[in-house]
Amino acid sequence: MKPFTYERATSVADAAKASADPSVRLLAGGTNLLDLMKLQIETPARIVDIGRLPLKDITETPDGGLRIGALATSTAIASDPVVRARYPLIARALLSGASVQLRNKATAAGNLMQRTRCAYFYDTTKPCNRRIPGSGCSAIGGHSRADGILGTSAACIAVHPSDLAVALTALDAHVETTNGQGTVRTLPVADLHRLPGASPHLETDLAPGQIITAITVPPAPPGEQIFRKVRDRASFAFALISVAASGPRYALGGVAMKPWRASASEAVLAAGGDVDEAVAAELSQARGHGHGEYKIPLAKRLLGAVIRQSRGDAA
């Protein structure tokens, strides 16, 4: 870990302004950042602690939706009565990840902003385009079962680890952002993360100095909310494949460097196509990488099953 300075942000505007400096990192729950700093994957000169900013509230919105403060913890969100009653998908996604100790610290925005868990990203003795642009991708040709199957590139095949993001994507949620000048902008959670392309080190569409202040969730559509996560053990493991459903909307996790809205499936279903066609529409372009090839049939099986369940078809 490199020496750094530490300060507490006194306002959201100050935090946003400070974050425009590339040597600054914002500290919220710290459950990912501190690990990355110990490994010198993140080497900020200055830490700005935003943990005490008033962004923790979870409130109902006039349109019948929900506004989740950026600093609400996973535990707070998952145990919120409105979330449990109207957005059980969010609670299930959160409770399927991490541990109680981590959920007590981890925040909503931090969850979306966490970095990939690709083993080669974490091993600083290996090339990684995400860590060191232009150094190469060790995951390609490597021994990894966690790689993506959609939206990967020759530069990076990592996946985004967030379960929450998958649930929010199926719910059509948005992130609300601000910058140092107080300009508020919202964008869909589904559009927050960038696919790697040729520059995997550019991970989100947030501009320098633009920070997430809240997540807004519209009223959930009628229909069952489902979250299925396939993982190597019963808890404390990242998704190999996950599927979220909110009524007629579906999203996949563990497949790409972003939560993957199954728009093609939805379109086929909306046009009266059957489930197999819907699944094929989404995953026909999927491409596996060595040890991760199994994810394609697994994603097909799981997406198909969740669609059937959400439509009330017999499994």
Binding site: K2, K126, G141, H143, R145, D232, F236, Y294, R301
Partner: protein, 748 residues
């Protein structure tokens, strides 16, 4: 019966009721309150300096340049050691007083050669851990890589017969018997490399006082560590003291002196200050040892009745090029199913890898994952119940015709089957459904060596009626402190609270340490002998005490109970006796020698693991539903400690079956998983409804009639889980662990 010195009768009599009792850990309170100091927490010599190890980012080659300038200029840094300024050390593996690999030289920074990934290239010492870590990141080195073999699977063709004396063991004529057998099974099983992942990483505090070195470190064997450190540093072993009072898990990974000890000792000497060095979790994956990957071919020739007439179990294992280690996968197979015609052999693939070495139940843990799965396959092929098949193959005598000291495997299988509800098992795979899950049951037999080594111990009975046991033994979390207190308290007729157990110091009477499940028998027997000698000394003092209540009595009739010595209807309190006649305390020593005829018998502990799993046939996910282990391991000293050991082993078996694996990236020579997010041991949620039961059993394997339990539970546990998966869904995965992609492939 094998004969041992006195003490057996006292344990059998168990007057105080302490033997077998579920006595709580005597060190439990100090551990949960943080008073127990582990090596990295020790501050006995005042504020230390902190050393952080910098490691090579390549798998094989040489250092062509190393620049420590930036590290030396970094805040707080007081010393940077590299191969250019480290002192001369004995070459790696050089034997000191013997060739026992735990006692040989383990030099660090001794040359520019990088023979495995993460070989230490520098130690950066600073006034704080943080400054040392920041400095270590500034070491600038260049390397020339050289040709290397990193991938086990890529180099299977290079396998050659192991130099181990038991690499190849044959009896009868396997080939002929196999060819003649009406039923032949020939299958190959694979297991990946495993890491120990102890809770406590390697850590050392080294303190020099003049020419004398004290090394506080986390190590399983003090005697070996002392010799290894002394020999590496080329100083007399009398000048080295090794202290290891609390150890957060060993599992074989702390059998050898690791880089932290040597580097801390060198730096502390150079600086004239205590130096502390601890490894990071990531470093533990490469700088500690690991379990070899294996390919195991099993051939079973049997009659239609399932009786095996020919057995072969061959292993191909990997081993570091510079350190031979053979994971003896079939040694226990020959003990489990001793048939007339057997052939086993072990071949090694030498890789440019970190050292492969012992991991909990070396050989047995992964060997049983193959043979006990093969037995399940044979049972299915023949339509014979897997429990019944094992019973039909129960040998009458052990290898070489040697009688069993005791063997209750059949009793364990029967009792386990009864308790587990085995009769409810549907032998047809995939026949039992529960919602989206298929449910199955599996069984695997357990077996582990009952070993014994020479040991010594000392006891002092104090004037206040308490006693102190001293022994250069370790407690790696198994409960050694507690069982030694129980043994001494039983012999002396006092409470466990009256026994102070002082272990973990090489200055105390020698014991071989913790490993191979021999600790309780070996160390406990020496303590029992010391206690028996103390009884004799105390009784003789009492009967020679003119005016004392026992004067003139027969010391052979002395009974020790409730803090007193009784002869007939007379008694004297130990406090009275010692304070009046020997106020400085009564001292006795004890020793255990292994009887010459000890290995004239076959000595093992046995058991049966039963598992029930649920398989999600949509996703291929396997989850344990319940598990039962029934074991027979001689007399049980402490029901609670033994149960914990058994459960811990079973949990490792579940992990080995379902989640645990590490792989060398063949391009780099490094393990892919380097943290506990990527190396998947079972989490709490994976371990549900687990129970371990011990059946009563007699034995003459040591004066107490006990058998080791630390490595028994893991054996057969992994296969029980894999066999349950087959029973649940009809998918036989021979490549452990049974992760979703392998199960899915079978489900089609």
């Amino acid at each position: 019966m094998t004969s041992f010195p006195t003490g057996s009768d006292i344990i059998a009599e168990n007057r105080g009721g302490l033997i077998g009792k579920a006595v709580d850990r005597v060190d439990g309170w100090s551990k949960v309150t943080g008073q127990a100091r582990y090596s990295a927490e020790i501050d006995e010599a005042g504020k230390p300096l902190y050393g952080v190890i910098a490691t090579a980012p390549i798998g094989k080659g040489v250092i062509t340049s190393i620049d420590a300038t930036a590290a030396e200029a970094s805040p707080g840094v007081v010393l940077v050691l590299t191969h250019r300024n480290a002192p001369a050390q004995a070459p790696f593996g050089a034997p000191g007083e013997g060739t026992n690999p735990m006692m040989t030289a383990k030099p660090v920074l001794d040359s520019p050669e990088i023979r495995a990934f993460a070989t230490p290239v520098a130690l950066v010492v600073a006034d704080s851990f943080e400054n040392a870590r920041a400095g270590a990141a500034l070491i600038a080195a260049t390397y020339q890589t050289t040709g290397a073999a990193f991938g086990f699977e890529d180099h299977l063709a290079d396998a050659a017969l192991s130099p181990s004396p038991t690499a190849k063991v044959e009896a009868g004529d396997f080939e002929a018997a196999f060819a003649a057998a009406p039923v032949q099974l020939d299958e190959t099983y694979a297991t990946p490399a495993h890491n120990h992942t102890q809770m406590e990483p390697h850590a050392t505090l080294a303190v020099w006082e003049g020419e004398n070195l004290t090394v506080y470190t986390s190590i399983q064997g003090l005697k070996g560590a002392r010799q290894s450190i002394a020999w590496t540093l080329q100083i007399p072993k009398e000048r080295v003291r090794v202290v290891s009072r609390f150890i957060g898990g060993g599992f074989g990974g702390k059998a050898h002196v690791a880089a932290d000890s040597i580097l801390a000792a060198i730096a502390a000497q150079r600086l004239g200050r205590p130096v502390k060095v601890a490894m990071t979790r990531a470093q533990m994956f490469h700088l500690s040892t690991h379990r070899s990957a294996s390919r195991q071919r099993i051939r079973l020739g049997a009659g239609k009745d399932g009786v095996i007439t020919a057995l072969s179990h061959d292993g191909v294992l990997h081993s570091a090029r510079y350190y031979d280690f053979t994971e003896n996968v079939s040694g226990l197979t020959r003990a489990l199913y001793t048939v007339d015609n057997m052939a086993t052999r072990h071949d090694l693939v030498r890789l440019d890898s970190p050292m492969a070495c012992a991991v909990r139940a070396p050989g047995g843990a992964v060997g049983t994952m193959a043979i006990e799965a093969a037995m399940d396959e044979l049972a299915h092929r023949l339509g014979i119940d897997p429990v019944e098949l094992r019973i039909r193959n129960e040998p009458k005598v052990g290898e070489g015709g040697r009688a069993f000291s005791s063997r209750s495997l059949v009793e364990c299988l029967r009792e386990g089957a009864s308790r587990f509800g085995w009769a409810q098992r549907n032998p047809v795979p995939g026949a039992v459904r529960d919602g989206r899950y298929r449910i199955g049951m599996g069984v695997g037999s357990a077996i582990w060596h009952t070993l014994l080594f020479p040991a010594r111990a000392a006891i002092v009975l104090h004037a206040d009626g308490t006693a102190t046991v001293r022994q250069a033994m370790t407690d790696i979390g198994t409960g050694t402190y507690t069982i030694l207190a129980q043994i001494a308290a039983t012999a002396l007729g006092v409470r466990t609270a009256d026994i102070h157990v002082e272990i973990g110091d090489s200055d105390f009477p020698a014991a071989p340490g913790s490993g191979g499940s021999f600790g309780a028998a070996t160390s406990g027997s020496a303590v029992l002998d010391a206690a028996m000698n103390l009884r004799k000394a105390a009784a003789e003092l009492a009967v020679g005490d003119m005016g004392g209540p026992l004067f003139g009595g027969d010391p052979a009739e002395a009974v020790f109970a409730e803090g007193s010595i009784l002869i007939g209807n007379q008694a004297v309190r130990l406090t009275d006796l010692v304070s009046r006649l020997s106020p400085g305390g009564i001292v006795a020593e004890g020793r255990l020698e292994v009887p010459k005829d000890y290995w004239g018998k076959t000595r093992n502990a046995h058991g049966a693991n039963f598992a029930e799993v649920a398989v999600d046939t949509l996703t291929g996910e396997v989850r344990l539903r319940r598990m039962l282990g029934v074991f027979a391991a001689g007399r049980i000293l402490n029901e609670k400690m033994a149960r914990s050991q058994a459960l811990g082993g079973m949990i490792w078996g579940v992990g080995a079956a379902l989640t645990e694996e590490n792989h060398f990236d063949p391009r780099y020579g490094s393990f892919v998983a380097q943290d506990l997010a990527g190396y998947h041991m079972p989490a709490h949620a994976d371990i549900v409804n687990l129970e371990a039961v011990f059946l009563p059993e007699d034995g003459d394997d040591n004066p107490m009639g006990i058998k080791g339990v630390g490595e028994l539970g893991i054996c057969g546990a992994g296969a029980a889980v894999a066999n349950a998966v087959f029973n649940a869904c009809g998918v036989r995965v021979r490549d452990y662990p049974l992760t979703v992609e392998k199960v899915l492939q079978g489900l089609g």
